[in-house]
Amino acid sequence: MRRLLHIEQIKLLNYNPFRITLGIYFVAFTLGLLIYPAVDKEIPVISLSDLFRFPDVWVFLTWVTEPYNVLLALIIIMITTKEFNNHTFKTQLIFGLSRNELLLQKLLSIVVLALFATLLLGITSLTLGLLYSYKLTFKIAMENTWVLGRYLISSFSYMSMGLLVALLVKNTALSLLSFLAMRVFVDPVLFLVLRKYEIRWYLPFRTTTQLTPVPDLIEIFEKKMNTNEPITESAMELLPKGLSPWLNILMVFLYTSLAIYFSHRLMQRRRFT
């Protein structure tokens, strides 16, 4: 395991496109979040900074940063298809890795990136929460931290899907395009087309985005308008749409397992030239 991780570390940390994409991710993530509250200080009543208070900040930021996971999936697609382009899967096989280890390598990268993303989210949320909360107790601050767990599952799931697409398509540009098309076009359009049917909530990317659902913003702002008191309790009610949370998580696990299962099969059968 440590051996595989070390191999990935040499490959990735010296690979410029990886460093750049991860750099963009990092900057966009932190800078974006720190700029939000600075910009909207002047707007009365509807102030985003209300959303940066504990414990709402956890759920809000999780929702806001969920699309950044697409960038992580793109990284996985990039590094996996590159191994095909450089014929380095073959080299690693020749020198003694098994096909299972080739897959495990990529899964380990996924786990590390998912942990990194979750940690980053945790740190930014905590920072903003500490800056903007009026009333600070440990109990309030720690409420809703469970969404970090969902975020971890969400990033892992996104990247597993990316891995499957990369192993299936092999070509970098085509893989990126197919993944983006699925996420940005096919899934949302199907969601609209199937609007009369319950099944639309079971679409793969829909279940993943539902892991970190839209916070009930209207309710938060209404509360703010009706009272002059600062908000002390959590106003964050998850919008009552879609599958029940546990069923939703179960579906994500199902899709992720399928993605890994088919990646495994592809890895076993591919002819590495």
Binding site: R3, I7, N86, T88, K90, L93, F95, G96, R271, F272
Partner: protein, 297 residues
Amino acid sequence: MNEILSIRGLSKSYKNVKAIQNLNLKIREGQAYGILGPNGSGKTTTLSIVTGIIHQDGGSFSWFGEDPEPRQRKFIGSLIETPHFYPYLNLEKNLKIICDIKGMPYRDIGRVLDTAKLLERRKSRFSTLSLGMKQRLGIAAALLGDPRVLVLDEPTNGLDPEGIAEVRELVIEQVEQGKTLILASHILSEVEKICNHVAILKKGELLANGLVKELLAEDEIIEISCDQNGALKQKLEESQLVKEIEIENGLLVLTLNDKATPADINSFAFSNKLVIHHMLSRKRSLESQFLELVKEE
């Protein structure tokens, strides 16, 4: 001698093309084994299967007398076709990855880079190397960890004459150190210079295999036997008729001198009161077969 690689009834097809058909080979420790054949005869396919890159359709093979497993490849240094490394990493980092895969320390990297005359380029990116240097790095990687077996597929492909000579020298050195070598090549002279055993492939089928000097040498080889082989051997060694005598399964195998014929041997034996009761020419129906084969290229 220990068995290194045993191939039994191996077959592989790509769509309609039969790349190899029912191939049987046995390679023993210390042999320098050439797999000779024109392009498309199944050499690379065979080596790709035994190094785990592709799966065979039928048949089986074993390394070191055991069923194939990825960890065995750590004792085998391979170079299949052109070497592929991470183009954006320098040579040292590329070899570190190979060391990690093989589970061995990095201290061998300097030695193999030196052997391949690439030590001063160790901080260069792989993508900046010339074709010949890439090929040499491939061999350097194969030598990491001093493996028992080297599997080289056309190691001199695409090199200039000087490069070819260097690589050959390097490979011969390894053979002299007692490594087992499996070398695929379409160049007759290369196999002749490096190997002692050879298998000749054509369109995925094994045409012949055996000692290089028997199959490919210019000399005429005959096997004989009489009631007193020991005495005959001694007499022949004193004569000018033979270059070399070996004993195989109770038969004397003679490599004749250029001007000697089997008739000379027979009359020489008779004049020494030894009656030959078995004489067979091992001459080169096989060599002519190979020449025909090469002509088709």
